[in-house]
């Protein structure tokens, strides 16, 4: 017999006048009704520890072109943990001789310009021609919760089924500039694994996210129709760095508008200095859905640019400059790590933070304090653990 009780609305003195009783419900977990008393203890899923790879495993696997090792190596490179940093640098150092042979194309544009769909169309074309294509797609991380939703692969359905294509979505991890902190290293790993065309897709960007320029040969800027007048394009920023401006979605009703936009951009581009010497930046139209204009863009524009660049040595020069900028971006990152992992900074950071929040300490003084604390540290003491570049 299940327990019953009088409902709470029954007046106490008239208790016997009401015959109504409430029956206790079943405590969840019965048929069709999810409850909260489900037994989570009886799991039979295999608990298998993740195996650890050594530097040799990574290097050999990548040179062999093993996708799984490549993907795990990218994880290693992108890792923020200090323990992974050292192995990651060793892996890159040993793989550097195998890099540099691929065509690197950077693709950027406003959100919704059709970057992923364009890559799907272009990548499929290249794969059927026998190329091996690696796509690095970056999506933004939340600045509030640090989580992210990576949806680029949903636009690349057929490309991700291709045997010759490797697509790696990555969260931007709070880095500004449209890429992840380690996009360049990821690109090098893909080259070492034998991919001959690397397409780097940035997050949907605004006007000044141009980090990708410093790691690719050809820089493609995708725009949409009806996005402002000539002045928008004349502003300094991403436009003056592009090697080609592409208006996607030139199909159906939008075709006429795409042609008009192309003409507008062509007019602006006359006034801009080309991003690459001896190369004229132009505006093109294409349609990723119907496929018109894509093979023309690849063969007549990008391939022409690459062969011309190799002939007159401009590409070689560009890559050397890019290596130099890589050096400085690594220096910046290293300094960042040194500061935030410095024991004396860590020791006084909390107190300074509290003082600033409570208004006892002006922010400018706080900065001075932190920097002077940092300057006191003996760098040599802790550099051994955090730095792969430490002198042994």
């Amino acid at each position: 017999m299940t327990e019953t009780y009088k409902p709470e609305w029954v007046p106490e003195k008239d208790d016997d006048k009401f015959a109504c009783r409430v029956m206790c419900g079943v405590k969840g977990g019965h048929e069709g009704m999810p409850g909260n008393n489900i037994d989570h203890s009886r799991k039979s899923a295999p608990v298998i520890k993740r195996n650890k790879l050594t530097v040799d495993d990574y290097v050999e696997g990548i040179i062999k072109g093993d996708r799984m090792t490549l993907s795990r190596a990218i994880t290693l490179i992108e890792s923020n943990a200090a323990a992974h940093f050292y192995i990651a640098q060793q892996v890159i150092q040993r793989l550097l001789p195998y890099t540099g042979k691929a065509t690197r194309v950077g693709i950027t544009g406003v959100p919704g310009a059709g970057k992923s769909t364009f890559i799907e169309a272009l990548g499929n074309k290249l794969c059927t021609e026998g190329h091996r294509v690696a796509v690095l797609a970056v999506d933004p991380s939340s600045t509030v919760t640090k989580g992210s939703i990576l949806g680029d692969k949903t636009r690349m359905e057929t490309l991700s089924r291709q045997k010759n294509a490797f697509i790696r979505p990555s969260p931007s991890g709070g880095t500004l500039g449209g890429l992840t902190r380690k996009s360049r290293e990821t690109l090098l790993l893909c080259e070492a694994a034998g991919y001959d065309t690397i397409l780097v897709e940035t997050v949907g960007v605004g006007q000044s996210e141009t980090t990708v320029r410093s790691m690719v040969d050809f820089f493609l800027y995708m725009v949409i129709t009806g996005a402002g007048d000539e002045l928008q394009g004349m502003k300094k920023g991403v436009m003056e760095l592009a090697d080609a401006v592409l208006i996607n979605k030139a199909d159906g009703d939008n075709k006429r508008r795409a042609m008009v936009t192309r003409a507008e951009y062509a007019r602006i581009l006359q006034f801009l200095r080309p991003a690459t010497e001896k190369w004229e930046t132009r505006a093109y139209t294409c349609s990723s859905v119907t496929g018109t204009g894509i093979s023309e863009l690849w063969n007549d524009v990008i391939m022409k640019f690459i062969s011309q660049g190799h002939e007159n040595g401009i590409l070689g020069k560009r890559r050397k400059h890019q290596t130099l900028s890589w050096v400085y971006s690594m220096v910046e990152e290293h300094l960042h790590n040194l500061f935030y992992r410095s024991p004396s900074v860590l020791a006084c950071k909390e107190q300074i933070e509290i003082d600033v929040v409570e208004g006892k300490l002006p922010p400018t003084i706080a900065v001075q304090k932190l920097i002077s604390e940092y300057a006191k540290t003996e760098v040599a003491d802790y550099i051994k653990d955090t730095s792969p570049f430490a002198i042994k």
Partner: protein, 154 residues
């Protein structure tokens, strides 16, 4: 409401601690085996988990288990979460486990995040799922995933 915010903050703290040790956020792939391309339930799950600090990989709709495992390996995710309105979880879980085993990557965890009937939960655990989303309890789901990952990874 305040209680909910407290729970959320608790999970975020666990995720942050995890991210510090692992070097990246817990990464979970939502695989949609259902009927509809834009399944509202998946959007909800993705948003809820991303709000707790997970990295979410959205898998294209209409893939079979072979493609899903290949994508999971390419993206190097921690967890594959299975979504299906068809209720074919028992088969899917077994097939996914087999496929993962053929790559020798059984350390990638399986979870069920679609709608399921309560009396099936035990069955899901029996067939290889390590975490099951019950009654839209995203916080419990996230905690279950994290505690399981703790065992597998560290």
């Amino acid at each position: 409401m305040e209680e909910k915010i407290k729970f959320l903050k608790e999970v975020r703290d666990i995720v942050d601690k995890f991210a510090e040790r692992e070097g990246r956020r817990p990464r979970i792939m939502l695989a949609n085996f259902g009927f509809a391309e834009n399944d509202h339930a998946i959007t909800e799950t993705a948003t809820a988990l991303a709000d707790m600090g997970f990295d979410i990989d959205m898998e294209p709709w209409g893939r079979d288990y072979i493609d899903v495992v290949q994508d999971a390996l390419d993206n190097d995710v921690h967890v594959i979460a299975v979504n299906s309105l068809k209720g074919e979880y028992d088969v899917l879980l077994v097939k996914l486990l087999e496929e993962l085993a053929s790559y020798d990557r059984e350390d990638i965890m399986l979870a069920v995040s679609g709608q399921i009937v309560a009396h099936n939960v035990k069955d899901m655990y029996g067939r290889g799922a390590s975490a099951v989303l019950v009654n839209n309890g995203y916080v419990d789901f996230a905690k279950e995933i994290l505690s399981e990952l703790e065992i597998i990874l560290f």
